[in-house]
């Protein structure tokens, strides 16, 4: 049932078309974590206050998808393509980062005054990544989750002012 819900939701998420286009391309690495997995993680008991807050945030996540490509020459092309697929009527650009190595943009979708989807798109000199997270999202906690599960880029959410959620 969860798989069905997840797949139904995936059809509606921001870059479902982008995922569909490249998910069978073996040059891409892919990670999909279901809401069931996150709900299992929510049963963990944290040792510190930070861990407890992180587990609380995890429990509200309904799914995660990552598509990435390393050692590639077309990372900037992929970056632009992924950005162009974000439906601007549903998503708001939250943050853009540009440095000499990479460009990164964060988009959020709100539902009922809460963030229901977060999209991170990163295009570097030779690497590309798109991440989409859906559920009830606390941006501050996402930076901690990013550090804990070693997702490069999410730590930038630490700099977001507490106006969301």
């Amino acid at each position: 049932m969860i798989a069905v819900c997840l797949s139904a939701q995936a059809q509606n998420d921001a870059i479902a078309k982008f995922f569909s286009k490249y998910q069978d391309n073996e040059a891409f690495s892919q990670v999909t974590i279901s809401g069931k997995m996150f709900s299992m993680m929510a049963n963990l008991t944290g040792e510190t206050e930070d861990e407890k807050a992180m587990i609380g945030a995890i429990s509200k996540i309904k799914g995660l998808r990552i598509l990435s490509k390393s050692d590639t020459r077309d990372s900037r092309v992929l970056y632009k393509e992924a950005i162009s697929m974000i439906p601007s009527k549903d998503f708001e650009e939250l943050m853009a980062i540009r440095d000499k190595d990479k460009d990164m943009k964060f988009f959020t979708k709100e539902s009922g005054g809460k963030i229901s989807e977060l999209v991170m798109i990163m295009g570097g000199n030779d690497e590309f990544m798109v991440l989409t997270l859906f559920g009830e999202i606390d941006l501050k906690e996402m930076s901690k989750i990013g550090k804990a599960v070693n997702i490069d880029g999410l730590q930038n959410l630490e700099n977001i002012k507490e106006k969301k959620n």
Partner: protein, 159 residues
């Protein structure tokens, strides 16, 4: 007494067969007689013994309620020979009440994790590894404590 012992053995054998999920037993029935298909089965007790012998004490507690591990290694050509697909088998897993927990693809190798929750911590975990030349199906029966797995991995990474 002898009859009683035979009865006990039969009951144990039958319960062992039932303990396999329908998905695993279907896969095994289809492929077990084919050349280059390998099948292993070990009890949780043996698994814990192996971890103890290899000095991996951290994970021993996390699998203390694991009853059984079954592994089936099938060359991809056998799927084609039987006119079957891994995609089709994944559908069977879903019909058999397995829920997909996670999917990972790295360097053309796909790993999918499934869970079928049972009563009294009698879960079935299914790991499907799709490599270039072969497919590895791993079924674990019992209970893997996420809390202990988490603390075990912390201990292991601090080694």
């Amino acid at each position: 007494m002898k009859k009683f012992n035979i009865l006990i053995v039969l009951v144990l054998l039958t319960s062992g067969a039932i303990a396999q999920s329908k998905s695993y037993s279907t896969l095994k029935e289809k492929f077990i007689d084919r050349p280059d298909v390998h099948s292993f089965s070990i009890s949780g007790w043996v698994g814990r013994l192996v971890l103890r012998m290899t000095d991996e004490h951290e994970f021993k507690n996390a699998i203390k309620e694991l009853d059984h591990v079954r592994i089936l290694i099938i060359p991809r050509v056998e799927f084609a020979y039987q006119n079957l697909t891994v995609k089709g088998f994944k559908k069977l897993l879903t019909q058999d009440s397995f829920e997909q927990l996670a999917f990972f693809r790295e360097n053309g190798e796909d790993v999918t994790l499934y869970l079928r929750e049972g009563k009294n911590k009698r879960n079935h975990y299914f790991v499907l590894v799709e490599e270039d030349q072969e497919v590895v199906a791993i079924e674990l029966k019992g209970y893997l404590d996420p809390e202990l797995l988490n603390s075990s991995s912390k201990l292991a990474s601090n080694k």
